[in-house]
Subunit: 510 residues, 2 copies
């Protein structure tokens, strides 16, 4: 098989060796916060009413192999991606045109756009935008050479940046503590395991925005994490909060999205103030609203949800992301840029080499409307034979929403054709196979796996208010990476959704 | 009440504030390894067969108040204590005399002494000794002034050094993240919370001994943690292992005491080699045997236990502790030094000021033999009225073995009088009362508490072999502290035994 590019890996383990590695993983992961709250299927909440128990996050026992050239390209191109998505939000007319194609069909996108329109009418109170992005790729092998193909670009609530640094450290610890057999030498060395400063990278992004904001404020300020409640993936977020406090001395608080109206106030100068319920005598001015909620329609299933989103958006707090940045993460935007023959990308990237490098990471994506390309895509999707090479995606963030391969034709027939344009059709990326072992809630599975890398980027930029187009980048940086690995049977990669595992890269020259 | 020396503390919490603090504690403790494996009474092992679940270690929500003068004295006197106990092991004749008084009655002490005799006959293969000590004290108020009174001196398996650093950091985090109410200002400040480098301090001790050993060896070497299995307090030990690897690059392995004969070998040159079962192709020379087991008679309930202890002791690995150091931790030694009127201490401490300072930390302890002092002690202990001020202690390390106050007379009547000399009688230290809140497995208890401080010390010394007396100190240092806090109803302080909680000191000038 031509896509089979990796050497034989990992070595077979004796039972004693496997036991030793598992013990090391179980203990190290808790000692270093590479943990999650156990799912109800594992621990019945009635046995732990206060939620004090934790379990190791699902992890691979070995770092997976990853082509060094592709890793270097993914990380070195991240700043260009930061700036591309910033530039998209600076061109409101262009974004409006794209979004308008789906806003009438996809209710969620429509509501997000209405929030933008309402704020734009009044005038934005904050020109600064913070992006904590993650660009996800898989390796695609063409003519025996591995290249990157983008799966999606996340502009809101990019998760696992807290646990990612830790799983990189876990694999380094296993290597340093002689847990791996000698046969691994060469494939895994201190040099093949790249540094992964995702925690401090993301915390630095929040700190940079906080500093820009507080330069103009005299009141006590804080970063506000707007969160889901309850949150099983809590340690992932906490590790960033702690780094923000310890490394940058920036205080932050967590506030469930559904409680934002109750505990924040939009002041007459449109600053957002937060009065913590545990400390009602103190009021903080919010420098940055960091959304770890609000990306899924299910987050809005309470009466005042849209009122709350609008209210936060109207404030002068820096939003991560702003509503325009959230919208720039629509699959439709990705499709418009990536459809073969599209010339949209050159609106945003002027450097020819950079343009080419970004374009090379695109997998073919087709619209699902009644344009000529859309009609062709519909034919591909309705035919079970050709559908087998595609995935159908709605505009949503988060796992669990995609329709894969042979399931596509029946799914399409089950929904009204008027809704079809809200989807995009993407060629399946077929990553090179390899093997690994995943530990999840103490259970161990061994077998073929596929990996998805995510590269974090932080970006702070200004959108010219009152103008249709314009702005400037203030800060753009890399912020570590994520490797998620799943059994090659599964089609979804979200670890929180119960499928994948946290992993790290061992770079190989292939 | 004259022993009531502290200001009113801690402030009363609103329900919202308490909820906020508890959430912070639950998450921070797991993120930073301030954790234990849940007891079977909390999580039925059949629900977690692989043992992957963890829970927050029992902790106080606030740092307890502690007199600054006493804290400074406890830490500054630790080097003298390190050197006192090293000196005791250098005087085998003296130690033999003390031990012989109980060796015939206390079987465990007798067996330990036999191990020493067997090795001494052959000649010790290693002159170096490592001590990782912990000297435990309570505050005793006399004439309104707080002083230190020693509870016991631990020479083997001194625990909680891993978690101690972390609970100090937890309280600092609660302060820095504005979790505490403003009323706390003054009582708890960044300056009132002393640094607590117990993890790196203890790891440095092991590393110093390892370096001394490896200076004379060309083979791959490792530190061997000889452990109980299973171990619920595993993270406490792991945090030290990880620091040893990360900070000093010293590899270590864990080996259950009951498996030592199976996986180690006493070579003809009396070096101890370890072949890890997970890596049978590799053999390490053991630089340091670090006992986290072997201190309780129950650790010897397997057929070859004493053979194993002798075998390890015969080796040229540096033992932490050696059998003589283990024996120096007998309560009898503490009693002989601390009995009012005793002149033994000046055999070991030449500096008059130091002698006085150490002596001032002694609480009155009486022998329980048929000497004149012993007869007086028996009278005190058999009379329920006077017994109420005493605690009766066997030679054991670890909580759960002491007999308190009014229970003493009946206990004494229940055992043969010939066994009485194996006990010591100690005046109860009556620490000043204060209040705190303890979180244990998610449950919360609020009320009066008493605190016990433990100061860690590491010491590396040489015992002159082939001579009855002599040696030299190579390295002696402080290594952080432990504060354990329990409800003022309970008489035992061992957190692992399920009674106390991990705490840290907020220093006050009283």
């Amino acid at each position: 098989m031509s896509k089979d590019i990796y050497p034989s890996y990992p070595p077979t383990l004796t039972e004693e060796r496997k036991k030793f590695i598992l013990e090391t993983v179980r203990d190290w992961s808790i000692a270093r916060g590479l943990a999650v709250r156990p799912p109800p299927s594992f621990v019945d909440p009635k046995h732990d009413p206060t939620g004090v128990l934790a379990t190791s996050a699902p992890v691979t026992l070995f770092p997976s192999l990853f082509p060094r050239s592709a890793f270097n390209e993914a990380t070195s191109i991240q700043k260009a991606y930061n700036e591309l998505y910033a530039a998209i939000t600076m061109d409101k007319g262009w974004l409006q045109e794209i979004v308008s194609e789906i806003a009438g069909i996809d209710e969620f996108v429509g509501q997000l756009w209405s929030v933008h329109e309402a704020v734009a009418k009044e005038g934005y109170a904050q020109e600064l935008n913070l992006g904590m992005f993650r660009s996800d790729y898989m390796i695609h092998v063409e003519k025996g050479k591995p290249g990157l193909k983008q799966v999606e670009f996340n502009t809101i609530a990019s998760s696992f940046g807290g646990l990612s640094s830790q799983v990189s450290s876990l694999h380094k610890h296993l290597l340093a503590s002689h847990a791996y057999p000698d046969e691994i030498t060469g494939a895994v060395t201190a040099e093949s395991l790249p540094p992964n400063p995702s925690i401090s990278g993301l915390a630095s992004g929040l700190a940079a925005a906080h500093r820009e904001y507080t330069a103009k404020s005299n009141r006590p300020t804080c970063v506000l994490f707007v969160v889901q409640d309850p949150e099983r993936n809590i340690f992932d977020q906490r590790l960033i909060e702690y780094a923000l406090l310890e490394e940058a001395k920036v205080p932050s608080f967590r506030l469930p999205f559904a409680e934002t109206l109750k505990h924040t106030r939009l002041e007459s100068d449109r600053s957002l103030t937060y009065t913590p319920p545990h400390s009602p005598e103190k009021t903080y001015e919010v420098s940055v609203v960091y959304y770890r909620a609000g990306y899924a329609p299910t987050d809005y299933e309470w009466p005042e949800a849209w009122e709350a989103r609008l209210y936060l958006e109207r404030s002068s707090a820096i939003k991560c992301p702003s509503i325009l940045t959230h919208l720039a993460g629509c699959k439709k935007v990705q499709q418009v840029l990536a459809t073969p023959g599209s010339s949209h990308l050159q609106n945003f990237i002027k450097d020819t080499l950079e343009l080419q490098r970004v374009r090379e990471t695109f997998a073919p994506i087709y619209p699902f409307d009644d344009s000529a390309t859309g009609t062709k895509a519909r034919e591909l999707a309705l035919n079970p034979k050709t559908a087998a090479h595609y995935v159908l995606k709605p505009q949503r963030e988060g796992g669990g929403n995609n329709i894969y391969r042979k399931a596509i034709p029946d799914f399409l027939k089950s929904i009204p054709e008027t809704q079809w344009p809200a989807y995009i059709l993407m060629e399946m990326i077929e990553p090179p196979p390899q093997r690994n072992t995943i530990m999840r809630n103490g259970d161990v599975e061994e077998g073929g796996v596929i990996c998805e890398i995510g590269v974090y980027g932080v970006c702070l930029w200004r959108i010219a208010s009152g103008e249709q187009k314009g702005g400037e980048i203030l800060h753009s940086a890399n912020a570590g990476y994520l490797l998620r690995t799943k059994g090659d049977q599964s089609e979804e990669g979200g670890v929180a959704a119960g499928f994948g595992a946290m992993d790290s890269c061992s770079l190989v020259d292939v």
